[in-house]
């Protein structure tokens, strides 16, 4: 079963971490990623760029239109996401609870819709 684990945050939140702590925090996350890539459960871990780099794309009269945004001044935005393939819902929760920052920052766990029916 596949789940998307999402971590939200904003610049204000990241700024509360001291600059010298970052390498250690990143190392913890790397260790976590390696551990679950090795079990075959982590399909991918991705960190997103700053919201300032995000663009909105629409189509107007068949032509793509690019604009800046979304503008998320105070609201938290998605900072990183993890695609996992695990044995059970409980296992997905376990992995989320083991996130290095789980005691400061919640992880959203979303089941991913699959293209098969569950009943026989």
């Amino acid at each position: 079963m596949k789940y998307l684990l999402m971590i939200y945050g904003n610049q204000e939140k990241w700024s509360t971490f001291a600059a010298e702590d970052w390498p250690r925090e990143i190392a913890k996350q790397d260790a976590y990623n390696k551990k679950y890539a090795a079990t075959g459960e982590l399909l991918g871990a991705y960190g997103l760029a700053d919201a300032a780099a995000a663009k909105l794309v629409t189509r107007k009269d068949g032509v793509p239109v690019l604009s800046d945004g979304p503008y998320l001044e105070t609201k938290e935005y998605m900072a990183s996401f993890y695609l996992v393939d695990v044995e059970s819902e409980e296992r997905a929760y376990e992995l989320a609870a083991e996130m290095p920052w789980a005691d400061q920052n919640p992880t959203e766990v979303w089941p991913i819709l699959h293209e098969s029916a569950t009943d026989a």
Partner: protein, 437 residues
């Protein structure tokens, strides 16, 4: 010597290779240990055969050919590993080449060889479904080591990247290679281990049966593969009635596959399936198998589920279904293997025999079960029974709740469609002359 093989024979070559894969791996592992290295060597031999046989023809002793090639790969592997060189060379030197290649599995003249193969294949299944491996690992390893599928094929079937599947398989092999798990017949816990193998095959079947991804010509279908491996298990354990029950259940369920989805992937419930599209040969085989097996005694959950499937499959229309018999079988199943899903299915049978209200009362009792409280299955079943009871609004609301809770795309589409249809009906008949808004 060798028979030429035309392009149309590629499939038979592949089938033959997959048939021989567990025999070759079982023989190698039983002789030399080192499951991990033997597994790699077997895969390499299979790949070589897949490349050469379609052009050069199938050798007279395909199994001997594979064993020879795999042994050579293994020897090269061991020789390159200098720390093990002396020990392994002694083992190989002590094994006459003639013994290595001269014992084809299909040789009737050598019943001992057949028995040894039988044991090796069983040991291999037990090894792959060992309780110290996670269930996804058991499934992946069984498909590769016993089923002879490539890592790429298994990854494609489970929609995960090939690297992920490779990682899962190599970890499973490392767990086995760590020495805690032995290539042997489990003493004392054989029954339990057979159940584990059956469970893995059942899960492989379900994964294949429920996948809606149409005919994929590049990867063998998982349900076909599960049926093939269950046939193998039944050949290895002809007296095990639950294995026979499992095979019958798979055949009787798989028979409905052509009618179960529409070309656009939409689900068709049992009641609305075009039964003329069911595969009659599978039904005949499944019914014969379960009819022979049930009277032998030791009736277990797979046999009971197969019997229920047989009653459904033998009814020419939904209205002809022998519901009292199905209810009787569910009563037995609930006693043999109590589980909320069984209770839920039994509630449907109760509703068909004693009316929807009786079924709804059973479901009300289930709602207090923590495992089921949020289940979309409970909601979907309650919706169905409410619909039968004439409670259109309650049914529509349940269908909608169920649709929100399922993670399956086709199921969600189906449930949403039911809710929408009920909404239209609840609003009253359409086409009453007023202009559409």
């Amino acid at each position: 010597m060798a028979e030429p093989v035309t392009d149309g024979h590629r499939r038979p070559v592949e089938d033959l290779l997959r048939e021989l894969a567990p025999q070759v791996l079982g023989t190698l592992t039983s002789r030399y240990g080192h499951f991990d290295a033997c597994e790699d060597a077997t895969q390499e031999a299979l790949l070589k055969a897949a490349r050469h046989w379609p052009e050069d023809g199938i050798p007279q002793s395909p199994r001997g050919w594979l064993l020879t090639v795999a042994s050579r790969v293994l020897i090269d592997e061991f020789r390159s590993d200098s720390s093990r060189r002396r020990r392994e060379d002694v083992v190989f030197a002590a094994t006459p080449q003639s013994e290595l290649v001269g014992r084809p599995a299909d040789s009737i003249a050598d019943p001992d060889g057949v028995a040894a193969d039988r044991d090796d294949s069983l040991k291999l299944l037990f090894l792959c479904c060992h309780p110290s491996l996670s269930v996804p690992s058991q499934i992946a390893l069984t498909l590769r080591a016993v089923g002879g599928l490539t890592t790429a094929q298994i990854a494609a079937a489970f929609l995960v990247p090939e690297a992920t599947m490779a990682q899962r398989i190599s970890r499973a092999k490392a767990t086995i290679g760590s020495g805690a798990i032995r290539f042997e017949m489990p003493a004392g816990e054989a029954d339990e281990r057979v159940r584990a193998v059956q469970h893995v095959l059942y899960l492989i079947f379900n994964e294949g049966y429920t996948a809606s991804s149409g005919e994929d010509l590049t990867a063998p279908s998982l349900s076909d593969e599960a049926i093939r491996l269950t046939r193998l298990l039944l050949r290895l354990l002809p007296e095990d009635s639950e294995t026979a029950g499992l095979l019958a259940l798979m055949l009787l369920t798989d028979a409905r596959r052509p009618a179960r989805t529409l070309p656009d992937g939409m689900l068709v419930p049992l009641a609305e399936q075009d039964r003329t599209r069911w595969t009659s040969a599978s039904i005949a085989e499944g019914v014969a198998l379960i009819s022979q097996t049930l009277p032998r005694g030791a009736v277990g959950p797979y046999q009971l589920q197969a019997a229920i499937a047989a009653v459904h499959d033998e009814a020419p229309t939904m209205d002809d279904t022998d519901w009292p018999q199905i209810l009787g079988l569910y009563d037995l199943l609930e006693k043999a293997a109590p589980n909320p899903m069984t209770t839920l299915n039994r509630a449907v049978a109760v509703a068909m025999v004693h009316g929807p209200q009786a079924g709804l009362e059973l479901i009300a009792a289930l709602e207090s079960d923590g495992r089921m409280a949020r289940s979309h299955r409970l909601l979907a079943t309650r919706a169905h029974l409410r619909e039968l009871a004439g409670d259109g609004n309650g049914a529509a609301s349940d269908y909608r709740q169920a649709a929100r809770r399922t993670a399956s795309v086709p199921e969600r589409r189906y449930l949403t469609g039911r809710a929408a249809a009920l909404d239209r009906r609840n609003r009253g008949p359409a086409g009453d002359g007023s202009a559409p808004v």
